[in-house]
Symmetry: C2
Subunit: 581 residues, 2 copies
Amino acid sequence: MQTETKEILKKRIDIAMGKIPADLVIKNCKVVDVYTGRILEGDIAISDGLIAGIGEYNGREEVDAKKAYAAPGFIDSHIHIESAYVSPEEIGRLVIPHGTTTIVADPHEIVNVSGLTGMEYMIDASKKTALDIKYMLPSCVPATPFENAGAIVEAEDMSDMLKEDAVLGLGEFMNFPGIIEAHDPVLNKLVAAYQENKLIDGHSPGLEGNALNAYASARIHTDHECSTVEEMLDRLSRGMYVLMREGSACHDLRSLLKAVTSTNSRRCLLCSDDRQPKTIFEQGHIDGHLRICREEGIDAITAIQMASLNATECFHLFDRGAIAPGLRADIVLLEDLEKFQVQKVWIEGELVAQEGRYLLPIEKQDISSVKGKICVKDFSKERLKLQLKSNRVHVIDILPGGVVTGKGIAQVQLDQDGNFLYNPEEDIVKIAVIERHHGTGNVAVALLRGYGIKKGAVALTVAHDSHNIIAVGVTDEDMEFAVQQLIAQNGGFIIVHEGKVLASMPMPIAGLMSDQSGEWVDEKLTQLHEIAHRELEISRDVEPMMTLCFMSLPVIPELKLTDMGLFDVNTFQFISVEADA
Amino acid sequence: MQTETKEILKKRIDIAMGKIPADLVIKNCKVVDVYTGRILEGDIAISDGLIAGIGEYNGREEVDAKKAYAAPGFIDSHIHIESAYVSPEEIGRLVIPHGTTTIVADPHEIVNVSGLTGMEYMIDASKKTALDIKYMLPSCVPATPFENAGAIVEAEDMSDMLKEDAVLGLGEFMNFPGIIEAHDPVLNKLVAAYQENKLIDGHSPGLEGNALNAYASARIHTDHECSTVEEMLDRLSRGMYVLMREGSACHDLRSLLKAVTSTNSRRCLLCSDDRQPKTIFEQGHIDGHLRICREEGIDAITAIQMASLNATECFHLFDRGAIAPGLRADIVLLEDLEKFQVQKVWIEGELVAQEGRYLLPIEKQDISSVKGKICVKDFSKERLKLQLKSNRVHVIDILPGGVVTGKGIAQVQLDQDGNFLYNPEEDIVKIAVIERHHGTGNVAVALLRGYGIKKGAVALTVAHDSHNIIAVGVTDEDMEFAVQQLIAQNGGFIIVHEGKVLASMPMPIAGLMSDQSGEWVDEKLTQLHEIAHRELEISRDVEPMMTLCFMSLPVIPELKLTDMGLFDVNTFQFISVEADA
């Protein structure tokens, strides 16, 4: 709004008055009016990318909507682009044909790897897509003090970035213990956000009572981690917006919709948190959320409000969120309000997608500032040795779902020097985390049960939240080879067996994202999964890649491995692999 | 929010956690939760004027609410303080006991008299009341080019004032023809507001279709002039918030409530536009609006939302609008949600009213910068002569309601020199408008029919929108004396007869507001009305003071008198008193 000139304004007024033809008119629309809940029949006149009026208009260009529904562009209120393994430009190409015109992205992963350079890359890359990507500056980098991430971002590093127009505030404040205990560095971050008049996203699963009061009293503005109606209502009552999540991993939307009423729906939004290409191909994006809303009996207008107006109110994006004069012409043409089949999408008055196809030329941001980002020192198979004083050990137990693990006890075989010996009869293998950011030479080794692997090794650079290298394998040689080849390919996923790469997906953007298309990523991932199951015999009950991604996340129970060692999340302490130590 | 320090934040978090006692706890409340529509039972803990939490709390001070309802403080979204004839400090004293904690004021009248000095006085005076008064900078000063106001405020004069925190944007943009015709100076004003990221209040009675599109496309944010359901829905659909008015003069609320639905209510607010002391004493303020909402069948929570959350969303007052952690402790304790009897009011955690009484000491802003503001040159009864070439004349016909007038024709008596002669048999008298701001010496004289006056004269300095002096009387001598005495008392209202002042209310603040109490104003006005009817025999069908206030408002049909002459609002031209000229 601050850049609008008098000339642009005069033209828009003249177009609205019908004195001069519009730049574009979308004729014969059923306009979804998210303010009153009415459907208005008419033409939409557009001037310099903004809506001038709804009524009867003529334009220099005209498109006949043939009585299709025109809705405001959809908004994903919280997403980690990195979790799609593609770049910002590519996520734009994937989601725009589904009607998404704005996303609020939290680049928590790349900033944990590349610091604010990663944030700058994301902002720059966003300029190459028609999708309007707003960012929340990751608030918790590193996520915990129990791991080495690629960067440390403290309050004093945040101020400049918080001044950026593309940055709406601080990303999900996962360190809720730090807030409710009023830790000084945490308060500094909050105050930095207040000073720039920016918002703060929340993340507070399970928090309730006075602790939730304390969290909300720090002006935590949203939460997307609700999984029950009670959690949701608790947060709404404390003034937090609830971002109802339906992602590739977490499916909270249907449960939470049961709490949505005509009184509270204005405070409810839709988000995906993560959305892999496969999910987008099969279920769409926010259009998929809308279908679920309808299936669960939510009124169509209420659903669209949650995907548009409510999100703009929440994030203070006052230039969009409805089809009304003066707002951005971010418009989705829909066949109906049940299936939400998207016919056409305009962003700022430009036709950007039609019948599922993205229409703009693909241009990519240079990735050299974030390429590779792998700095591993002193790594060899020697570092993978696991010499133990006793054969009674702690094992990380893979549990269904793959994110929460168990803290198990097992008896294992040792050689004459006390080194762990793989026993094909037991489903226990080595897992290693190799620090990859600063060349610390940190290598931590522990034991994993339930992965099912019988041959070879798997390695990856996607390992929440610090994204060090994780390797799991049957032999040290296979694990060493996997790590070496993974480094050579600039990170990503790799599967090896006896000196051969069986499958791989290079992810040159910070070791987190591919520079290829979503289709390519999906094909590669499918290949990796097939080979993991078929060749390495990894259990079919386990998602072979994503499961490992969460093995070093020390905020999720119960036992995890970071580059600093085996971490007991229940006691928040490092423990020894030996169970009796 | 920008001024919050870490120490204040830490204290609030510690209070929310129950680690330290709150500054104040309002115990045993039924908390009205405007987010979910629920009533939550509990205590409200307050820290440094902000809410820390709702639950079970102890405080250094505790107040037992005894299960009364605690609602967020009420907000009047559009009011002209000047129309109450009292100062900002005094309006605070009058409305706070009714639960009002924030008002959005448009000082259109004083700025028309005193320019930005008047605005500065209002902002300064507001600091002496607990009521949080936000301002909209008057956008149309002078209101028209057909009159001399005290000031001219163009776009270039606005930028500094628009940067003020207390200024939310531009006041009601009455010059809607200027917007839809895209007049250059008008566009400059709009762009000045955009540049400071400020809002623009609307005023567009009767506008519809493409003209309304054009108006809205200029980002006109609100309208408080709706009187029909159709006007209201038209504006809501175009993204404008509708401020439903119930004032001393205009009563639109009951009609408009018929259009309020669970979908659109979030875009509906409550306002008074004007509210005289008598109305406040008899009907309250926003609490009165809430009673009307209930009488019209609006759900209590929806009504309270319109008086709180909706207004804060509309005006981007994100630090208030609900009872939730982190927000201002602006709290109203209510006996019930039908009659909205106010028991206690806190503003920023301070108890400011109880059982109808304002509790804080009264402190007044110095008024010397705006005192009097009467500069009349070359005035004497000679200037009141009305010498006519013919006895067939235009008369301003007073119509029921007193704001809209008729353009009448009459035969009058003239003396041998052609001067108008008052005929007691005919209800036609002289009306004069005397320029009072710049000493131009402008005096315009015309004829008024239907006022009923039979003796003496009335004069006043409250004359929308330029607030020159209006005098109406039976003899030139009485009119001259009234004007002289009015100037001597620093403006206001006066009634005289044969060299004696029969009643008066001095209004030393710019000739628009008294520096006395609301009770005093009400008493004086009552006296003026009684004497006007009893002594001067002014018709009992006419409100003797307010009717005259609108006689020089050249935007309201049909015939008006400004200091520049007799103005035909239908043709937007000055005309002669002689009907055949």
